[in-house]
């Protein structure tokens, strides 16, 4: 029994602590915390009464008494700034509470129950989003009265679609997860599923949205006050900017402090949101792809002596940048492939079989590098080939058939175009010639109506047809080597048999070599001349297919072959004792 636990990635530090560990997150938190303190202790901090007028201080420059100077009416700018924080933040809180409550609740219900509730809520949300908020608030100004807080409540309603859409999309994404089904089967009520499972998932994104929306609310509120639609008796940052604007020509400097206060607050909110988002997206991944040194290969292995060998991989090491340097996913793989041979690369997940194949194609995922070793293809070392040399090889001499047929066709282009474009590029033939050849190929890979498929978009054909199209594309330029990465894993078993047949026939016809990457020993037995069994980035055993199946040498190969379920002895049924009573 496999009872050992994989090395635990114990990173259960709370969100708060990890956000504070991020420098920008820390700075943002400190600023917001100071703001909160200023708001609470405003009467103690502010040197003057914010509405007290001192006539001789009108538009006064900063001095020892009025540290930031006086405004257009002779009031202390610093004191107004401090009290203004209160009113500004209160307005933002109102808008955010209204928006959040309204948006999250409707989003939860619309997302979970769908149908009519969803349709109606989405229409209303789309309608609200089509309105420029500030225009609506201006139009309603007379009806709402001069209280800015009423306007901010209305603004909250106008902001609620942001929360609604976020929540609804998250819930829709989550509700088809199998763990929700499992919870329903366990007998949980809908309410319990929403509060226990779904809220857990949407928590962090909603916190991010609260942070962002608070920023928007502060800016819009200040905007309204700037336009003179606020309560003139209350000190607010927007009102202060209005005052500064009115005195722009006499005291331009007074426009700085309140604007800076707004910007700093909003920037802190955004940076806080970014810090939370970073933490969520990154999870346990390394902080950033570090620029690690690639060791220079010491000596290059000589090219294979025999011209009969198409591909020879020697001591290949492929790495991806990790937390503590390179993580090798392929660790010293050597294999050689003859012309016209079908070679199976077989192993379980994480064995490095796909990465080996991608290394030959020169198409490792972002960050991946060949760290050492050589890949001789037709006498040329691919590890030393330039990107443009690799590009000339791909399509023309080395081709690729992927695992998932649907996602490997560009949904925005017709299938015909996706075949014609590479042929024109690689073979340098005209569009008409390429089109003729594409139609021939589509017929050749067993598609009944090549004309129709040629004109179709990917979403109009089935997965089995799409895989045939991809094979047609791969063999279009008669490559020397075809790399097929789990080419039938996504297909039904009857379609798999047909596709394997097709690959076999094309191989016989063109005489190309094929590397089949697979986890399925049946596929290997069906197709391959040679097999290499991989584990943990290394080849444990290579042999001719017949020998390998008849007499596996390595313990791991034996274990894998023993795990293959074939011709098991059927179980005999006997009713359990308690049921007989």
């Amino acid at each position: 029994m496999n009872s050992s636990i994989a090395p635990a990635v114990r990173e259960r530090t709370s969100l708060v602590r990890s956000v504070l560990a991020n420098p920008t997150g820390l700075v943002a938190s400190v600023i917001l915390l100071s703001l909160a303190l200023v708001i609470i202790f405003a009467p103690a901090i502010a040197p003057f009464d914010p509405v007290k007028v001192q006539v001789f201080k009108v538009n006064a420059p900063p001095d020892a008494e009025f540290l930031l100077g006086g405004d257009g009416s002779g009031r202390d700018i610093l004191s107004r700034l401090i009290y203004g924080a209160r009113n500004t933040v209160l307005g933002a809180l109102i808008a955010v509470s209204v928006a959040g409550t309204l948006g999250v609740t409707t989003g939860l219900f619309a997302g979970y129950y769908g149908r009519l509730i969803d349709t109606i809520a989405s229409w209303i949300s789309n309608g609200l989003m089509a309105l420029p908020a500030i225009i609506v608030l201006l139009a309603f100004f007379q009806a709402l009265g001069s209280s800015i807080y009423m306007s901010m409540a209305v603004f909250g309603v106008m902001l609620s679609p942001g929360f609604f859409r976020l929540t609804r999309n998250l819930v829709q994404g989550v509700k088809h997860e199998l763990y929700i089904d499992a919870a329903r089967v366990s007998g949980l009520s809908d309410l319990r599923i929403i509060t226990q499972h779904i809220l857990l998932v949407i928590r962090a994104p909603v916190v991010i949205q609260v942070s962002i929306v608070s920023g928007i609310a502060i800016v819009i509120q200040a905007g309204l006050e700037f336009l003179g639609l606020g309560d003139a008796s209350l000190p607010t940052w927007g009102g202060m900017l209005q005052n500064a604007f009115d005195n722009l020509y006499t005291a331009p400097l007074s426009a700085f402090s309140s604007g800076l206060a707004i910007s700093l607050t909003v920037a802190s909110l955004v940076l806080l949101a970014n810090a939370i988002r970073d933490r969520m997206q990154r999870g346990d991944a390394p902080q950033r792809l570090r620029h690690l040194k690639v060791p220079v290969p010491s000596t290059s292995a000589p090219a294979p002596a025999s011209a009969d060998i198409l591909l020879e991989i020697r001591d290949l090491v492929v790495g991806y940048p990790g937390r503590d340097g390179w993580v090798n996913v392929v660790n010293g793989v050597s294999l050689s492939l003859k012309r016209g041979e079908i070679f199976g690369l077989v192993g379980e997940s994480g064995s490095g079989k796909t990465q080996t194949a991608f290394a030959v194609l020169g198409l490792l995922s972002a960050g991946g590098r060949i760290l050492s070793g050589s890949i001789y293809f037709d006498g040329q070392d691919l590890t030393r080939a330039s990107p443009s040399e690799m590009r000339r090889l791909r399509g023309r001499h080395i081709a690729y058939v992927p695992q998932e047929p649907m996602s490997n066709l560009d949904p925005s282009f017709r299938i015909g175009y996706q075949l014609v474009e590479p042929m024109m590029k690689v073979l340098g033939i005209s569009r008409a010639q390429a089109r003729k050849r594409a139609l021939e190929l589509l017929g050749h890979v067993g598609l009944a109506d090549p004309e129709r498929v040629f004109k179709s978009y990917p979403h109009q054909i089935s997965g089995g047809m799409a895989q045939r199209v991809l094979i047609a594309g791969a063999v279009a330029c008669k490559p020397d080597l075809l790399i097929a990465d789990e080419p039938t894993t996504a297909l039904d078993v009857t379609v798999q048999a047909e596709v394997l047949d097709l690959l076999r026939n094309l191989q016989a016809e063109y005489g190309m070599s094929i590397i089949i990457v697979t986890h399925n020993f049946g596929v290997v037995a069906d197709m391959c001349d040679m097999v290499a069994v991989m584990r943990n980035g290394a080849v444990v055993e290579t042999n001719a297919a017949r020998e390998l199946f008849a007499a596996p040498q390595h313990e791991y190969t034996k274990m894998l072959l023993d795990s293959v379920l074939e011709d098991s002895k059927p179980r005999t049924y006997s009713a359990p004792q308690e049921e007989l009573v």
């Binding site: 420029p132 139009a139 309603f140 200040a222 910007s263 399509g395 992927p402 996602s407």
Partner: protein, 313 residues
């Protein structure tokens, strides 16, 4: 596709009707208050009642609404209460001004954020960090404050550009452009900040698709993959960004026009809101909604054109 566009059109029409109706009942409900507002503090209640009657604001709301919608259907939005002239005329003078500002801003925003977004998505590194910084600044600096700062620096201090005012294209193209530089700059920053960030995301998503590897494996070069395949697939997301940002810029223009004393729709809205010129406000809201609906339908058509799933449905 016809069905899809008809559905979008129907949504637009419903939106125009619903919004104008709701707005009507909210803004027209305070006729008496408006009359008092117009006449000032010294007015007697008899004067107020007389003015309320003269404006027709003493009739039941439903009657007023019936009259308004009948006339509106014929393109007549009534007369302004606080200035002379018909609302339609006033709007006609203002719409081109606002559209020239917002239109220029949209074009600039699209171009700049597309370049920034694509560069950041493809290069990563410094370009990525630049976009992060731009997006935080664009979000945190309110456009009206930026406007004030621009005026202080470029008009009052350096005297390179006019501080305020608007010149029509017809009277002087060069002056038209200089009068637009500061307002458009102030308006467009926040748009660029958010649009470039989203464009970057859309391009990164498109480049992470499986078919990109398959196309590379067929010998298609990186330029063709980026410009032909990835950008085409990033288009729907980019169009959504464009439509959201257009609405935001339209709203932002209201404040910017005030800062730069530009006689556009936004400036009209602010003035009418303060004095309570209800027919004008009604006209502005209606105009804005119609503009938004038209822009959205244009975007829907483009979307249907680039997205075969929509086009063939």
């Amino acid at each position: 596709m016809i069905k899809y566009l008809l559905r979008r059109l129907a949504f637009g029409v419903v939106l125009v009707v619903v919004v104008s109706t709701l707005t009507f009942f909210l803004v027209f409900s305070g006729g008496e208050r408006v009359a008092a507002n117009i006449l000032g503090d010294s007015a007697s209640s008899a004067d107020i009642a007389a003015l309320t009657h003269k404006l027709g604001a003493d009739r039941p709301l439903l009657v007023q609404y019936g009259e308004w919608i009948t006339k509106a259907a014929h393109g007549d939005l009534g007369s302004a209460w606080t200035t002379t002239g018909s609302v339609t005329e006033i709007l006609w003078r203002r719409v081109p001004v606002t559209l020239s500002i917002v239109g220029t801003a949209v074009l600039m925003m699209t171009a700049i954020s597309a370049v920034l977004g694509i560069t950041a998505a493809v290069l990563g590194g410094w370009a990525d960090r630049l976009i992060q910084v731009v997006s935080v600044i664009g979000f945190a600096v309110p456009n009206f404050w930026l406007g004030l700062l621009l005026i202080i620096v470029f008009a009052l201090d350096l005297r390179w550009l006019p501080a305020t005012g608007y010149v029509t294209f017809a009277s002087s193209p060069a002056a038209w452009i200089t009068s637009l530089v500061l307002p458009v700059t102030a308006l467009v920053l926040s748009g660029i900040a958010s649009a470039s960030q989203q464009m970057r995301g859309a391009v990164i998503d498109a480049l992470a698709q499986d078919y990109v590897r398959t196309l590379s494996a067929r010998g298609i070069g990186p330029a063709s993959i980026l410009y032909r395949h990835a950008l085409r697939n990033a288009m729907p997301a980019a169009l959504t960004v464009l439509s959201v940002q257009f609405i935001a810029l339209l709203g932002g223009a209201a404040i910017i026009e005030r800062v730069f004393a530009i006689p556009g729709l936004g400036e009209l809205t602010v003035r009418s809101a303060i004095v309570g010129d209800v027919p004008v406000l009604m006209g502005v809201v209606l105009t804005m909604i119609v503009v938004v609906v038209i822009v959205n339908i244009v975007i829907d058509i483009i979307n249907a054109w680039v997205n075969p799933k929509v086009r063939l449905s």
